[in-house]
């Protein structure tokens, strides 16, 4: 076999592949056009039936038929799309009826599929159409290893009130990346009573490695029942816990919060001091004004900025403190005060947010 013959074979194979690819492109386009042409009218029919039913003018049966006539993935898309537009009670009625539909049963069985996209499909379906009988299935999906699956499954908390489901999400939350934690936190807020009960127990375990994340979540709930637990953590050896505590205590205007923040504003970690200064501004207790004057001379720019912004929340007294600092002996306090006093109202509002 000569090299020329090999090249000839390669050229032939390339030619065949090129031709095949071009045919594939054209066939793919043709197939999709045909599929769209057949599916689109069915989707329109479903939307019309759904609209009539949502306005209490049409039968639920035609809605169920409409869903059954669509491919499962498109039916789930439609279901997710409509879930935000139909009131709760009527939606629960639909979810209960869907439990007996053949296609929905198949989707449910996919919760144990070894293919992640099938489990994702199931999680998306259950996120809007779960019934109390799906709790075990949803707990399994919340603990799924594929991130897209558990993120979709946790959205079921928007509609389901279930203690096992809430606890599964709460257990998983601290182990997740910060963005996913925030997403979980948003979902868990809806199950407030169960969450608070659980947090009261967990915040008492000071050696829990998940503590910083749980405190962060707890203080965002601004729940008075958690104040004592959070305040008790102000002396915690982990600076990350103290950062979250000092950030959160601003939500609890209480003398014990002020006492804790008085200590935290002198913390060795600058992040703790900055958050404590911010929280002192939120509470705006006049007795803490001298602490913020001192913080205005902090060696760290961010602490000085937070202290200056906090002083602006004290009204005339705070403004006078800044005016004094503007002509005072400390150069850094002077610069910070000048900058804060020069900020327009909009910028101050943005910082406060």
């Amino acid at each position: 076999v000569t090299s020329r013959q090999i090249l000839l074979v390669v050229a032939l194979v390339q030619g065949v592949l090129l031709g095949a690819l071009i045919i594939l492109i054209i066939l793919n386009r043709w197939f999709r056009l045909r599929r769209n042409a057949s599916v689109h009218p069915r989707r329109v029919t479903l939307d019309n039936a759904m609209r009539r039913w949502a306005a209490e003018g049409g039968p639920l049966g035609s809605v169920l038929v409409g869903f059954a006539r669509l491919p499962a993935s498109l039916a789930i898309d439609a279901l997710v799309g409509w879930s935000a537009r139909v009131p709760g009670e009527r939606w629960r009625e639909l979810a209960a009826e869907l439990e007996h539909q053949w296609w929905a049963r198949i989707v449910r069985t996919n919760s144990g599929s070894f293919r992640w996209w099938k489990r994702l499909e199931c999680a998306r379906f259950l996120s809007v159409a779960a019934t109390p009988r799906d709790v075990a299935r949803l707990v399994r999906l919340i603990n799924d290893r594929h991130p897209a699956v558990h993120v979709a499954a946790v959205a079921s908390l928007e509609r389901m009130e279930s203690a096992p489901l809430t606890l599964a999400a709460l257990e998983r939350m601290p182990r997740l990346a910060s963005t996913v934690q925030a997403y979980y936190a948003g979902m868990l807020r809806r199950s407030r009573p169960v969450v608070i009960q659980h947090l009261q127990k967990r915040l008492g375990r000071t050696d829990d490695p998940a503590l910083p994340r749980l405190v962060e979540f707890g203080v965002r709930l601004a729940e008075p029942a958690l104040r004592e637990r959070v305040t008790a953590l102000a002396e915690h050896p982990d600076p990350e816990v103290r950062i979250q505590v000092s950030r959160g205590l601003g939500n609890f205007p209480h003398r014990e919060s002020v006492a804790a923040l008085t200590r935290l504003v002198a913390d060795p970690a600058w992040e703790v001091r900055a958050q404590a200064a911010r929280s002192l501004g939120m509470i705006a207790d006049p007795t803490t004004l001298p602490l913020l004057r001192t913080a205005l001379r902090d060696p760290i720019w961010w602490v000085r900025l937070r202290a200056g912004l906090a002083l602006m929340r004290f009204g005339t007294a705070g403004r006078n403190a800044l005016l004094e600092a503007e002509v005072g002996a400390d150069g850094e306090a002077r610069d910070t005060a000048r900058m804060i006093l020069g900020l327009p109202a909009q910028a101050l509002a943005e910082f406060a947010a």
Binding site: S3, R4, L7, L8, V10, A11, Q14, G15, L17, L18, L21, I22, L24, I25, I26, N28, R29, R32, S73, V80, A84, W117, L120, E121, R124, P147, A148, V151, A152, A155, L176, A177, T179, V180, Q181, A182, Y183, A185, G186, W301, L305, M339, G342, L343, P344, Q346, A347, E350
Partner: protein, 468 residues
Amino acid sequence: MSVGDIVTGTDLAILVYFLALNSFYALLLILSIPEIWEQTRLAEDDDFQRLMQSDALPPITILVPAYNESATIEASVTAILTLEYRNYEVVVVNDGSKDNTMEQLLHAFDLYEIPRIYPETIATKPLRAVYRSRTRSRLLVLDKENGGKADSLNAAINASRFPLVIAVDADTLIEPDALLRLTRPFLLGREIAAVGGTVRVANNCTVKDGRVTDARVPHRLLPGIQVVEYLRAFLFGRLGWNRLGGNLVISGAFGLFRKDYVMAIGGYRTTSIVEDLDLVVRLHRHLRRHKVRYEMPFIPDPVAWTEVPELTTILSRQRERWHRGLIAAMWEYKGMLFNPRYGRVGILAMPFYTFGEMLAPLIEVLGYAVTVLGLAFHMVNVPFALLFMLVAWGYGMLLSIWAVVLEEVSFRRYRRFGDLLLLLLYASLENLGYRQLTVWWRLKAFVSVWRRGQVWGAMVRKGFATPS
């Protein structure tokens, strides 16, 4: 050693190079299949309404450096300010433009001057003024002395408030849901250092209110071929690299970065020729050295549209600059080459970019020269040489058409059948003349790499008012 020996030896070396490089391309092509499968699934399954209402979305600062962009600045900034994202700010930097870019901004967004309220963490050229807008609360405008694109980006990073920054060219149009899509890897809990989206060609598209409303393939050959080039670079090149764990290019026109990592390496390097490549290589180096777990994926569904050059003079300058940047970066970071300390980046990505991308034009020209020499001395079998050329060009065509296939089975931005045929036509024509031109431009980069400093490079913008 006779001329015949030299020609035969060189021929063999080029053949081995050709086989190795094209096998690697074939590997990228194969790896792009599962990647686009997964990405398409995730893109289709996103419930964006729910995400948009979520507090989980990480806040983003969009950095928009602008130098002599008066033709497009208002439309671009307006489009950026109306993106579908909950928590973001836009920092536009006028880099001492010589045209009326600053006046346009002042007038269009009703700007007023404010004091500077942040520390200068990365040193930049002096700021002239900082502005906020009376009509757009998300907008911050910096007016500074000219220092180049990297310097502008650094100034914008200093002024940014949020933990993620995205650099966007002022002439780039971002799709409304692109930021949402770009943050998907963060929502999936991955350890992301940077993430890149797709850049597509906006020439001949219909643009309304700063949005591409009708995607069209240009009828002119030069921008048309660039559509295929961009599809190939993004849809299978970078997707393939996702699986190999070493994406070395996050487009400067549309890339999201973690600000703390960018600041840790001192921001963009003002002396670099292609600042995005330089930044990404330095990020890899820094994160690998500090043993930080990270990913730099490319995800195909967030899209930004950009105008590409329609004139050969402008295109040649652009390509020469890109290649100069590649040469400079590969030389600068040669210590990473084949260095196991840098993992797959050192073992795979750096060698590929050095030998497969940087040296490719030299070797291709050498191949042409040796073939001509061989023909002149009757040492090359003419039918064999022609057949070899046919195979080489056919392979290039195959890769381009594969990129069109990936586009067709995934995102299908070009809805018209005529546009699809045009894409296939351009994919077929790319190797006949255009490719050789780019080889020549890239070759010129070797000559000028030691002589020229960093410049923005002039780009004639038509603006996006009407389709051409």
